[in-house]
Symmetry: C2
């Protein structure tokens, strides 16, 4: 029997095969981590869209214009007397992409849904535009409605940012009227899906309307 | 000298090392391909947003509501007499995300930029809304403005889709007024950046305004 080349008592060809197997395993693990890192960096998780300071204030989202646009209304108000002035305001609504993807599959909102309501000033005549109104670079208000089940007693909370001095915002107390109004009138999970044209048919398909909204619809027909 | 185990004349430990090296190379290649495939699937290249049939018609983009929103205007028209009816129309403008990212870095549009103009009907009273207008699920028109330098003589082209019967659209001939109007009045590279509130300051910073727009601005001040 020939004496085989060995490494610490193991025949060298077995050692080589073990080394191969080890490298294959290490490379597979590395590949998986690398793939996940790519996914993470390109497709932020829902929680990446909402960040708080250590004392519970919300940090203003800065890239919401690259989220999913839900709708834009003009001079909308709950009050008949509102906006009798000649000023025009547009309200643009955006939601974080992962929440939008989830809504399309379920008809409702997942935890860590973040809405941004941007109020932007409109003007009439300008450039070749002769009638109607268009939006200007001037933002007059920025509000956030966020679903964070572990953090807020009613699951959802509102924040109002100072657009002239961007700094973390304190949560709006639950006693403020916006909470009650959203709970009493909003079509899906305290959000005004009745005003979001691409989501309204999805909510109808998934039958995810609130009782309040179904009653409102019944009363109108 | 001991006789070594061999495979086709090559000592087995050398064969094993060669096999290891080969597997490392193959796995590296696989890893790179896999990483790129993940990137491609999550972050489509600009050309993924515009597709044509073999006879040169454009296939209607279906996911433009998940692209980047540029603006929404209401009842806009070049014509003072337009829209004297009581109907409300909103025009929502979207652009493919890779073109938007490029505009932020350069102040102008790359090849394969795709704009979608969605005309959506608006209504007034509804749910808790008492004044102003909001958008409805009813789309009345869908137009595309695309930059495809190799395909179109003027680099850009327009397409008009039938929203009731989605099917590939034929390019609008260059003699139609929309081309001349965009060339004569649009602020950046035949696009109406003067109406896109987040892009107007970027174009100003990069000094990418068209001569026509600079003259128009001068005349207004």
């Amino acid at each position: 029997m020939p004496k085989m080349i060995s490494w610490k008592g193991t025949p060298i060809w077995i050692a080589s095969l073990l080394a191969t197997a080890t490298m294959v395993i290490l490379l597979s693990v590395h590949q998986t981590q690398s793939g996940e890192a790519i996914i993470r960096s390109l497709k932020p998780s829902a929680s990446d869209y909402v960040r708080y300071t250590t004392d519970g204030k919300m940090i203003m989202p800065i890239d919401y214009r690259e989220w999913v646009f839900l709708t834009s209304g003009v001079n909308m108000s709950y009050n008949e007397q509102a906006n009798e002035s000649s000023e025009t305001v547009f309200d643009n609504v955006f939601v974080n992409p992962s929440a939008y993807a989830s809504f399309k599959k379920t008809g409702t909102w997942p935890d860590k849904t973040v809405f941004v309501l941007e109020i932007r000033e409109g003007v009439g005549k300008g450039s070749i535009n002769k009638t109607g109104k268009f939006q200007t670079p001037r933002i007059s208000a920025l509000e956030v409605h966020v679903k964070d089940e572990a953090r807020f007693p009613g699951k959802w909370a509102f924040f109002n940012f100072d657009v002239d001095k961007p700094q973390p915002a304190t949560v709006i107390p639950r006693t403020v009227q916006c909470y009650a109004c959203h709970e009493q009138h909003a079509a899906v999970d305290t959000t005004f899906v009745q005003f979001y044209p691409t989501l309204l048919p999805i909510a109808r398909e998934y039958k995810s309307f609130s009782k309040a909204y179904l009653n409102e619809e019944k009363a109108q027909h």
